[in-house]
Every structure is written in C-alpha cells, then in structure tokens.
Amino acid sequence: MQSTVAHPGDNEDRKLVEEILAGRTAALEPLFVKYRERIYRICYRVVFNKDDALDLTQEAFLKALRAIETFKRESSFYTWLCQIAVNASIDFLRRKGRGPKVSFDEIVFDEAKLAAAKNPASTPLHQIEIKEMGRLVAHALSALSEDHRAVFSLFAEKDFSYKEIAEMLGCPEGTVMSRLFYARKKLQEALKSYVETKERSKGG
C-alpha cells in the first residue's frame, strides 16, 4: 500500500519520478542526495550495523528504480522509498538469521535530542552518562523483534504518523501503537531498574 499523505517536496519528487519514467535515470540522483541520510538512518535503526545499513540504502534506491513503474503518482515518493527500505531491512535481518541483539557500541545518539530527553528533572536520570544510556537502550532494543524495530525506526524518524507507519508495514494502526508501547515499556523498565539498583547500592 502506498501512502497518500503529503510530505514537503512531494511535487518536486513527482517531477523527478516522471523524468525517470521517461527514461532519464539520472533524475534519481537528486532524489538520492535528498533522501539518502533519512533512508540510511531508517535502515540503521533496524539492523544496527553501518555497512549493512549503507548496503540496504543502496538496495532501496535500486529497488525503487526498478519498480518505479509501480509507483502511484498521487502518493509520496519519500514514503514509498521508506517502505522499500524498511522492508528490505526486515528481510535482511530475517535472511541473515541474525539475532535481535544490539551491542551498546552500536547505539549512537543525536546529541540535541539526547539533551532534551534527559531534561525531565523528576528522575535522577539526568546524571547518567551517555555510555550508560547506550547500554540501557541497547538492552531494551535487543528485546525487540525485527517488526518491532521497524516501527521504532520509522517512529524515531519523526516524519510519519502512526497511520503512515501502519500503511508502510502493512499492519493495523493499533499494532503500530502496541509495538511502540512495548518498546517504550522495555526502556522504561530498564531505566527504572538501573536507577533503583544505583539507589540501593548508595543506601547500602
């Protein structure tokens, strides 16, 4: 299913798609430059390996090029591309049979977003080091399946509504919400357990 939700720049994208359909493959380049970072991030947050994420980014653009005739003109090219990328990443993990384990050194944070996340003064979490945060997040993400991670990855990209994520992954909106609920809950529990253990060790 292709999303019909509009995104900024959709009109320019459609013009480029028309050019590709007319046989000018070079029109893919501006689309690549525009979306490569976002597609790469989406792939990375599913597979948690830089080289694999770059390969998957390449694969996503090539798949889009090969299937360009199936792209519906009224839908968003970006959303369609993300759908291809996230599904390729899920397939990759399944094909590899790689466990869902995420290593803490593969966790990278956007510093501005991290600072905002640590802000709530109601918890003692603002004192935790980034490395420790990475460990906790890796621990929580390791508990997620490929499908759960795909929801998390698209959610973290911030561009999509639950409805769009559901359309991209071909599942009901409620499933998207429950998968996200699960991811948040896992991390909430990890944070709580970490802080309580720290407090107990200080008290003892």
Binding site: G23, T25, L28, E29, F32, R36, E37, Y40, R41, Y44, R45, K50, A53, L54, T57, Q58, F61, L62, L65, R66, I107, V108, F109, D110, K113, L114, A116, A117, K118, N119, P120, S122, T123, L125, M133, L136, V137, A140, L141, F152, F155, A156, K158, Y162, M177, F181, A183, R184, K185, L187, Q188, A190, L191, K192, V195
Partner: protein, 238 residues
C-alpha cells in the same frame, strides 16, 4: 482515583498527544497524589526521548560517493539494457531456429518436471540412501570380521575358562566347582560370601572355593589386587 495500571496506558497515550481533556485531567489528578506513578511517568518520558534520540553513525562524503557510484553503475547498466531493447532490431529468426528454440523449451520443461519429482519424492530418496548405507555397513563388517579371523589365527588366544553348571556343588557356606581350562595362566576365582569378596588362585585344572550365594567370577591374575593394592588374600579352604 483510577488504579495505577490504567494510568500507565494514559501516560503512554499522552506521549502521542492522544488524550482528551477529561483523560488529561484524570491523569494529572492521579499524578499529584501518586508518587510511584509520577516517578514512572518520568522514566517513560526519558525512555520516549531516548528512543527518539537514537541516531546512526555519520557517513562521510567519500562513503556516500561509493554508494552513489554503485547505484549509478547499476542504474546505467539497466539504462543500457533498456536502450538496447528499444533501439535495436533483432536479426530475423528462421523456422528451423524457432523449432530449435521450442525443442529447448520442451527439453527444459521435461527436465524441470524430473527435478520437481525428485524434490517431491524425497522419502524414496532417503529410503534408497538408507539401503545403500546398509550394504556399505555389511561390507565393512565382513572386512572387519575377516581381519579379526586372520589375526586370531596368527595369535591364538587361550580358550576362556568355563564352569560347568552341573559340576557346581552348593552346600552350606560353600560352593565347589571344577574349572576346565587349557590356559597356562593361573586362574583366579572371586567368590562373594556374605557380601565379602574372597579370592583364590589355582593353576590350570581343578579348583574349588566356597561361597554362600554362589556368585563366582573368573579373572586373570593381572586383574586382581588385594585391599590397598597389595597381593590378594587367599582365604582358607572349607
């Protein structure tokens, strides 16, 4: 006041901005009175923020250039194929050539069917494999037996001593038997009397020893040691 578990759900939905005014005020009222939920809410906010903050390692311009080149290469190759398909007229094909093509298809189709049958009929294949293994194992057994017989002929072994059942005399506190053996090696008999093990030795020929429960074993001298590793103690003859 709503139970804490219900408020977990409200907290989660508040992160998505999905609460109506009534739900929002219900949650706020609960949080004012419940320190545990206030704390949990804090953890949840941080968890949500952290998940949103997960990024990917930076990719250098050089790395992007490699990816772009790969895409361009693949896309260019596809372009070339499209151009070739659209712009060139294939040479004419004769009737004989088409017949050859059709025969090839037919052959492929038949082969395909055979392959398919092989795949489906995997149990027959497995049975055949088991049968083949059986023959191989039997042949190997024959070879091993032959080697064993040849070696046996070259190094004849002493016949195993036997106790003839009809020669065992069991009486109160003892049992008696004659061991028939042609071995030159000394024969030892282990007998258990009241669960205490006794050992006695004899050269070839007749031998007797007593036992209450009639458990008797025969062993070569080298296998026997007495208590503490010393020589075996020979109990008196009854």
């Amino acid at each position: 006041m709503k139970p804490c578990d219900d408020n977990q759900d409200l907290m989660m939905r508040r992160l998505d901005g999905a609460l109506n005014l009534v739900e929002q005020s219900t949650l706020d009222a609960h949080l004012r009175e419940c320190p545990r939920c206030t704390r949990d809410c804090g953890y949840l906010l941080v968890a949500d923020g952290l998940l949103r903050a997960v990024d990917a390692p930076k990719v250098s311009a050089e790395e992007w250039a490699v990816v772009e080149t790969e895409i361009a290469k693949a896309a260019g190759a596809e372009d070339d194929l499209r151009v070739a398909a659209g712009a060139t007229e294939p040479p004419p094909v004769s009737r004989e050539e088409w017949d050859g093509v059709w025969q090839g298809i037919e052959r492929e189709a038949l082969l395909g069917k055979r392959e398919e049958k092989k795949t489906i009929d995997i149990r027959t294949l497995r049975k055949r494999a088991v049968w083949q293994y059986g023959v191989a194992i039997a042949a190997a057994a024959v070879v091993v037996l032959g080697i064993y017989l040849v070696v046996g002929m070259m190094h004849p072994r002493a016949p195993k001593p036997t106790i003839a059942a009809d020669e065992v005399q069991v009486g109160k506190g003892y049992a008696y038997t004659t061991i028939k053996t042609e071995s030159a090696e000394s024969i030892y008999v282990i007998a258990q009397i009241n669960n205490i093990e006794y050992v006695s030795a004899s050269t070839k020929g007749g031998f007797m020893y007593s036992t209450e429960n009639n458990v008797m074993e025969i062993a070569p001298k080298s296998a026997l040691t007495g208590p503490g590793g010393g020589p075996v103690e020979v109990p008196p003859k009854p």
